[in-house]
Amino acid sequence: MSHLTIAMPKGRIFEEAYQMLIEAGFNLPEEVEMSRKLMIDIPEEDLRFILAKPMDVPVYVEHGVADIGIAGKDTLLELRRNVHELLDLKISQCYIASAGLPNTTMNEIAPRIATKYPNIAMNYYKELGEQVEIIELNGSIELAPMIGLADRIVDIVSTGRTLKENGLVEYEHITDVSSRLIANPVSYRMKSARIQELVSRLKKIVG
């Protein structure tokens, strides 16, 4: 069997995905010492996990330094990397929506959208036939409409609580998001048997 490198986002998604692999019958230690380690080797299964920022997972996989990876649909849509999307793991489900202050309309001359997903936001409004100006932010996006930086935000919504607490309302549901299993195109071919086996085992768990 060929060696397999899996890129995973740090934190909750890693833990959920790791549990799924255990359920799928992979021989992994119950507890992994996470601390500050960026690489975890599992010699029993000839596996290596590399832990990355969620946005970076598709980059590692595209360049082939990781054979497969687990990435949010949001990062895949935003980065549009050349990777194969193999399986919806149905974990960390949420959606991308536009939101803003209640009872407001967008500025007619130059509507401004604050987001950390400039490509997703741009494409969405383009499809609607609306030309908008994108303001790229890295966090606390909800601030933007409150202090008059933007008319709308485009962001991830899971429970809607953050929006509510900041006095914002959801306007449009843009797309559903969940974690996906992705593969490098070369690995998908050269390690085909191993990856297929992993996919079919995970598929049974996902149901």
């Binding site: 330094v65 194969h84 999307e85 919806d88 195109p185 085909s192």
Partner: protein, 388 residues
């Protein structure tokens, strides 16, 4: 935008230093000898072409084209691939002299980077085109040549995946209810978004038999062990017969172990009309090359004769090819002023032996040791040597 520093190059442009340069030359030599021995003639086309001809016909996305304007105001492009210029020159001239044509190329192509680096905007491509032969034997020759060429480079671990645009189209058409649905599914396959494919199928509200067939197809289409596995999805047609024949020919050539089937292979360009394939090898995260039958491109240039071929990326070949140490020994011949003529003789004698000889005056050196460290052997020719 920060100002450009003196050492900078445009995004994606790279210098070639001596060691990679030599390796590239070896690839060129190996490939050239190999392809010429199979009757392929090498040609070259200009770096610049008109946007309206080659630029528009090329399979490369518009955003990746380097565009320039000539003094008459015409838009030009730096050639983004070699297949399109060769189709142009073949249809306008070469086909009148010989048919079918077997052409080969080794040339640099240009593709603009939109965002990050990490990949070159100019890179070498080596490949072949067989133009004017619509038979399955031409396609078989392309695949067999690709396998043997890769082997000639000393690469052992590689795979060629073959699909057929016609077979895929037939499946997509039969199991969907509209052209829109068919196009949506095809574009998801171009992006290799298998999850999106399943979601789309479920959202179409198709009769259960159709959607079940599509879902079943997508779950196994990249891994058919044999051509007979696809027969349950397609009614008997010419394309399927063609693929069967092609695989038989590859089998006859004894190359089945290098070939896998992938009936989801699809191109965003509709001129790929028949079989198409991709080449993968251990050692690079990106595909080594691709190929296929592109009769539609020839049609675009006004010819109906059909064409097929493949191209390999030289930059990725360099990543994959095992490196071997350079054979020639390097010698520095250092000489003092009066000993120049003797030094010339010494250097020539050593060159006769097949060594790489650098002739260097001692006067011109600041640090003799730092310089001579770069050589396998150092010979000093001094005035005393003259006396002997």
């Amino acid at each position: 935008m920060s100002s450009i520093k003196m050492f900078e190059k445009p995004l994606g442009m790279r210098d070639t230093f001596p060691i990679p340069y030599e390796k590239t030359e070896e690839v060129r030599q190996t490939g050239r000898d190999f392809l010429r021995s199979r009757g392929f003639d090498f040609i070259q086309t200009p770096s610049l072409e008109y946007f309206d001809t080659v630029g528009k016909a090329s399979a490369i996305y518009d955003a990746s084209l380097f565009k320039l304007v000539d003094s008459q105001g015409n838009t030009l492009v730096l050639r983004p691939d070699m297949t399109t210029p060769i189709a142009r020159v073949a249809t306008s001239k070469l086909l009148k002299e010989k048919i079918p044509l077997r052409l080969a190329y080794f040339a640099n192509v240009f593709r603009a980077q939109q965002t990050e680096g990490g990949r070159p905007a100019e890179f070498g491509q080596m490949g072949i085109e067989i133009i004017g032969d619509k038979s399955v034997y031409a396609d078989a020759e392309v695949i067999v040549t690709a396998v043997h060429l890769i082997q000639a480079f000393g690469i052992d671990s590689f795979k060629i995946t073959i699909g057929h645009a016609g077979v895929l189209n037939c499946i997509l058409r039969d199991y969907t209810d509209s052209k829109d649905q068919e196009d949506t599914l095809r574009s998801l396959l171009v992006k290799r978004n298998y999850v999106g494919f399943e979601e789309a199928v479920e959202s179409f509200d198709l009769p259960k038999t159709k959607s079940d067939a599509l879902l079943q197809f997508i779950s196994e289409a990249t891994n058919f062990a044999s051509i007979t596995d696809i027969e349950k999805y397609v009614r008997k047609n010419n394309e399927l017969d063609y693929m069967q024949q092609l695989l038989e020919l590859i089998d006859t050539a004894g190359l089945s172990e290098y070939v896998a089937l992938d009936f989801t292979l699809s191109s965003h360009m509709n001129y790929y009309t028949g079989m198409l394939f991709e080449v993968f090898a251990d050692g690079s995260g990106f595909a080594l090359g691709n190929g296929g039958r592109y009769d539609g491109l020839l049609k675009h240039f006004g010819s109906e004769v059909g064409a097929t071929g493949f191209g390999l990326r030289v930059d990725r070949l360099l990543e994959v090819i095992p490196s071997k140490p350079s054979a020639a020994q390097t010698v520095a011949v250092l000489f003092e002023d009066e000993a120049f003529s003797k030094a010339l003789q010494t250097a020539n004698a050593l060159r006769e032996e097949g060594k790489r000889v650098t002739l260097q005056s001692q006067k011109g050196l600041v640090n003799v040791e730092a310089f001579t460290n770069h050589f396998d052997e150092v010979v000093t020719v001094s005035q005393e040597d003259l006396a002997k």
